[in-house]
């Protein structure tokens, strides 16, 4: 039933994206040309990477507001490493970015787990701290394109089978996380913790530790995205991806991840991100002011939540009916 519900919710969202694309195509057929769809997917890849990490966190009844700041700090650090050691292989740089992001995610997770501070407060705090650290280490200065090594900048653009590595990275992360969520004890624990923390405790699941790992996953993905972002745009400064955490949460909400925890899927987060990505890329093409983009994104969030709320209400009625029969 849950599986069917999620599937139907995902199908619904997929339908919404298809309708959106059809509407755009009716006026601008070029938008749905394969090369442009690849470009839209590539452009949405950072959002996908962050949204699937956020999804795990939200699933465990938490929220991670520090992802964009984590991304920016990691991006600045790897950019400065690249300036200092231009010869360092890209593989090492990527590993460093993931490691740094992981450490920041673990810091969030430890504060939530060991000190019991509400996640929204912890990550609001660390968000500001991370941005502050960028300012301290960079002195407020930018790292510009000409300071970065060619190899550093080339990786996300390098194409393989017609897709840039940025897109491939997102696809790989989606596959790995899908397996983690559906086929490992950690994934199962995340659903259990979000669905009913008390019950999870009684079955021997450590709620705090599960939340810690959720933050760690979110941090690792944010760190990875930090490198990809900075190398793709070939610039690093204090305010990159400023406010992006809200897009990430929005993608999750649109993707049917229950903000109360326990319900959601990696696929849903991906579709939520793609929905926002299509809108963001299509509006300039159809000549709509970018201001409308905000309004449309906002409306999409509310509609998604309303649809999900209605779905769970219907479920409530079914429970009552079956209870009636049982009594």
């Amino acid at each position: 039933m849950l599986q069917r519900l999620i599937t139907s919710r995902e199908v619904l969202l997929l339908g919404a994206i298809a309708v959106l694309l059809a509407l755009i195509a009716s006026r601008f057929p070029a938008f749905v040309a394969p090369s442009n769809l690849v470009a839209v997917f590539n452009d949405t890849s950072p959002l996908i990477l962050l949204a699937i990490g956020q999804m795990v966190v939200i699933l465990t009844k938490c929220i991670d507001l520090s992802v964009a700041a984590n991304l920016a700090l990691t991006g600045m650090v790897v950019a400065m490493i690249n300036v200092a050691f231009p010869g360092m292989p890209v593989g090492v740089v990527v590993a460093a970015a993931i490691a740094l992001g992981t450490v920041m995610g673990m810091a969030n997770g430890l504060l939530v787990w060991k000190l019991g501070i509400p996640p929204i407060v912890v990550t609001l705090g660390t968000m500001i701290i991370f941005r502050g650290i960028i300012f301290l280490i960079s002195d407020g200065k930018w790292v510009n394109s000409h300071e970065m090594s060619p190899a550093f900048k080339a990786f996300p653009r390098a194409e393989f089978l017609g897709l840039p590595m940025l897109s491939w990275t997102a696809i790989l992360a989606v596959i790995v996380l899908t397996i983690v969520m559906s086929r490992t004890t950690l994934g199962r624990a995340a659903y259990a913790v979000g669905g009913n923390p008390h019950a999870a405790t009684y079955t021997g699941i450590n709620v705090g530790r599960t939340q810690f790992w959720a933050f760690t996953i979110s941090g690792a993905l944010a760190g990875l995205t930090g490198y990809l972002w900075v190398s793709r745009y070939a610039v690093a400064y204090v305010d990159i991806a400023s406010g992006f955490e809200l897009d990430v949460v929005a993608a999750c909400v649109i993707g049917g991840i229950s903000i109360a925890g326990g319900i959601g899927s990696v696929g849903g987060a991906v579709l939520g991100a793609l929905f926002l990505g299509v809108i963001k890329n299509a509006l300039p093409v159809v000549n709509v002011s970018p201001f409308w983009q905000l309004a449309i994104s906002g409306a999409a969030i509310i509609i998604a939540v309303a649809v999900n709320a209605r779905a769970s209400r219907t479920k409530g009625r079914i429970i009552l009916k079956s209870a009636e029969h049982a009594v």
């Binding site: 039933m1 849950l2 599986q3 519900l5 086929r183 490992t184 004890t185 950690l186 199962r188 624990a189 659903y191 259990a192 669905g195 009913n196 008390h198 019950a199 999870a200 405790t201 009684y202 079955t203 021997g204 699941i205 450590n206 326990g262 319900i263 479920k315 079914i318 429970i319 009552l320 079956s322 209870a323 029969h325 049982a326 009594v327």
Partner: protein, 506 residues
Amino acid sequence: MLMHTQTDAAAATAPILALDGITKTFPGVKALDGVSLRLFPGQVTALVGENGAGKSTVVKTLTGIYQPDGGDILLDGAATRFATPQDAAKVGITAIHQETVLFDELSVAENIFIGHAPRGKFGLIDWTTMQRRATEILRSIGAQIDPGHKLRDLGIANKHLVAIARALSIDARVVIMDEPTAALSHKEIQELYELVETLKAQGKAILFISHKFDEIFRIADRYTVFRDGQFVGDGLIDDVTESELVKMMVGRDVSQVFPQRESHIGDEVLQVVGYDHPTEFADIGFTLRRGEILGFYGLVGAGRSEFMQALFGITKPSKGVTKIDGMIRIIRSPADAIIHGVVYVPEDRGKQGAITALPIFQNVTLPSLGRTSHRGFLRLAEEFSLAREYTQRLDLRAASLDTDVGNLSGGNQQKVVIAKWLATQPKVIILDEPTKGIDIGSKAAVHEFMAELAAQGLAVIMVSSEIPEILGMSDRVIVMREGRIATELAGEDLTPETLVRHAAGI
């Protein structure tokens, strides 16, 4: 077997407030079944009954929180209804609850007058009048409290006095006291008695709910007994003895059928020594053998669930040793307990039992994931076969094991929770109020099943507040009172009267 003692000639006055044939049904449970209750001016009526007799429901009905499904509420002889708690407050009905419902961050005066503060010009709060009247009321009940202090700074006893002052500030005619002495010291209780005398002298009708027989006989004028949501009898306290009251509380005309068991009690499997907790329980020790059902009886708040949670590793006792099969086992978390073969089926199923958003098979395997996974990776085929095995044993009928637990009936959800624990292959299973809030048919099924578990050699601890269940199922009963073991009963000593006496401390 109604025992309506007609002594109204003695109490010539008419009741201020009366309930007549009140019925209140919740899904699957009849909380009140045609109960009657009369409250007379200047008299204290004690409402007596076991846990689950319907006392709290009556209080909520009287104060407008619940609407009765049938029957009449008579105020000065005229039928009335309280659609909201405000309606009840308006006619002067006020309740002082077990846990005082007050506001820690507000001052004493504000707490007394919240919702009906004296108003001055422009409808603004008249602070001077409020302060003065608060001082008057506090003085009238002999409370030495500065109305300007924040409530947070007061002790529990003084908070109670504030609650009482609040009750008086609305010109209460009916004061309901729900276990008012539970948190008070001996001296404070004496002061409360004096206060009750003052209220009586002012002609107020008092409904006094208590488990403690000594205080009922000390201050009540009348009694009313409920059992299982039904009216059993009422009358004057002077016409009744303690043992007659106990009989009325526990006597049963409907005899529940419990499975016939032949206990095959085996080796000792669990030994608990010297469990202490700074605030909740002390000096808990007992042994448990294979094939035995050990009942834990006590009043609500006697510390039974708190101890069980410590035994299961949810909370940390200050000291205590657990031996399983003769080996000392350190249990720091539920995961440790499950590994060593101790499982706990908690009382509140909705909150602590099943994860309604997950399918049946995932719920069943949740505590056994260690066995159905390899290096953190799940083995779905093993999960399904484990879930199938245990749901079949419990005769759980569902379209598929993929069905969300949230879509199952209460009885089937209960089966999922039990299947989940059995799948861990435990040695000791702790069932906390296993049949609370489920219908008679499901109850019988749970009892059958419990007997079967014991027959298979499992050791069962059953925490229950239902005397018939305790008597019908247990080989041995430990009675807890105020965080300590009051006594251990078995065989002929195991009677409703002895249980109630030890639990209430009389």
